[in-house]
Subunit: 205 residues, 2 copies
Amino acid sequence: MGKNPRRNIETLESTEGISKCILKNRLINSEEAEEIIQAIRIENHPKGSILLKEGEVAKDCYLLMKGCVRQYFLVDGVEKTTFFFVEEQGFSSFKSAAKGIPSDHFLECIEDCTLAVLSVQKELELYQKYPNFESLSRSGLEDQLGDYQEMLAKFITSKPEDRYLDLLENRPELINRIPQYQLASYLGVSPETLSRIRKRIFLKK
Amino acid sequence: MGKNPRRNIETLESTEGISKCILKNRLINSEEAEEIIQAIRIENHPKGSILLKEGEVAKDCYLLMKGCVRQYFLVDGVEKTTFFFVEEQGFSSFKSAAKGIPSDHFLECIEDCTLAVLSVQKELELYQKYPNFESLSRSGLEDQLGDYQEMLAKFITSKPEDRYLDLLENRPELINRIPQYQLASYLGVSPETLSRIRKRIFLKK
DNA sequence: GACTTTCATTGACGTTTGTCAAGAAAGAAA
DNA sequence: TTTCTTTCTTGACAAACGTCAATGAAAGTC
């Protein structure tokens, strides 16, 4: 737990990946993409390392290229998982990064991760220089906001068992990748309850 | 229910309000603000009117100047409230508006409302013309995303009673403005349970 | 004022969940 | 393999929640 990240020596393949990802969007031409890629650093973090601690100010935003990152809160000494980021997802601790305030949560790599990292400062510079890049970002933010609206709505309107079934249907890969006690926390129930929910579902079939 | 919106004849005061709101941000100069305000229409909607129905494609984004708007889903014939927007909040059904897909929820004015309305199409034009306006929007989206991250996290990590206490502390105005059965739905419990939670809290004091 | 409608409260009862504790299963390390 | 650690499962019991039904209170309508 909490080992230091090792810088990747062979970043070529990764850089190619992110280049493709950025160029997919037609707003960005190859010249602009070039400078954006220059600003991005590729980092490899082993399983168990912490990207951001509670109390720290977030300085970077991430694009996850390989692995899985968990967002969690520490409430009365208990870890409460609130999100899992997986491949091709971009994320940042917006509240902390945008306002420069300490983060209220942790970001942990729960698998060996390869991340494209862009500093918030550099990001703002690129926005100034390339309005198209800001358009790309705004559009992405709108998508993410739509996702969050949907997730919050689902969480409010459904029961734990429904949420697990929803997970089975919409993000089945998570169920095999992630320890059950973390999934339970993410569903808002205790590990024991998730175990019983799984049993109930199994018996119904 | 569902009456047509009446156009406000006296929009002067409202327009002044939104002008101030936009100019507060230093990125926008008065010339830019002028054109943005031109594109905005002020609408008055009486209590009970529906801004957006399930199945419709959202074409507008809103800035709420007076009143309260409720977002809800219809699940098995039951209304499930997922959000309340109040004064000075900007909002849109992002998923529907950004992707042009039918909305999965309703937006209802639960009080007489005054709204600044901007069409998504016009919004995109203004972004093209004024990168600063897009910056303003991106920044606002980041704030909102931060809020949603926080709300989702709170919902996952807390119990209904905690959520009600949280509401009492952070949004006390909602409790007096909003019917209890809608609040209950928003907290993810039945009206009966909210009634009992209130009783429990009252007895503890 | 009398009536209707809507909303909030309360009781009863079955279901679900949290917690504590014990044991089984699966992985990791020696 | 054996040992150790972590994770998952199961049981028991109390607390919380959902549902159904009845009662009260408040607001709107005629």
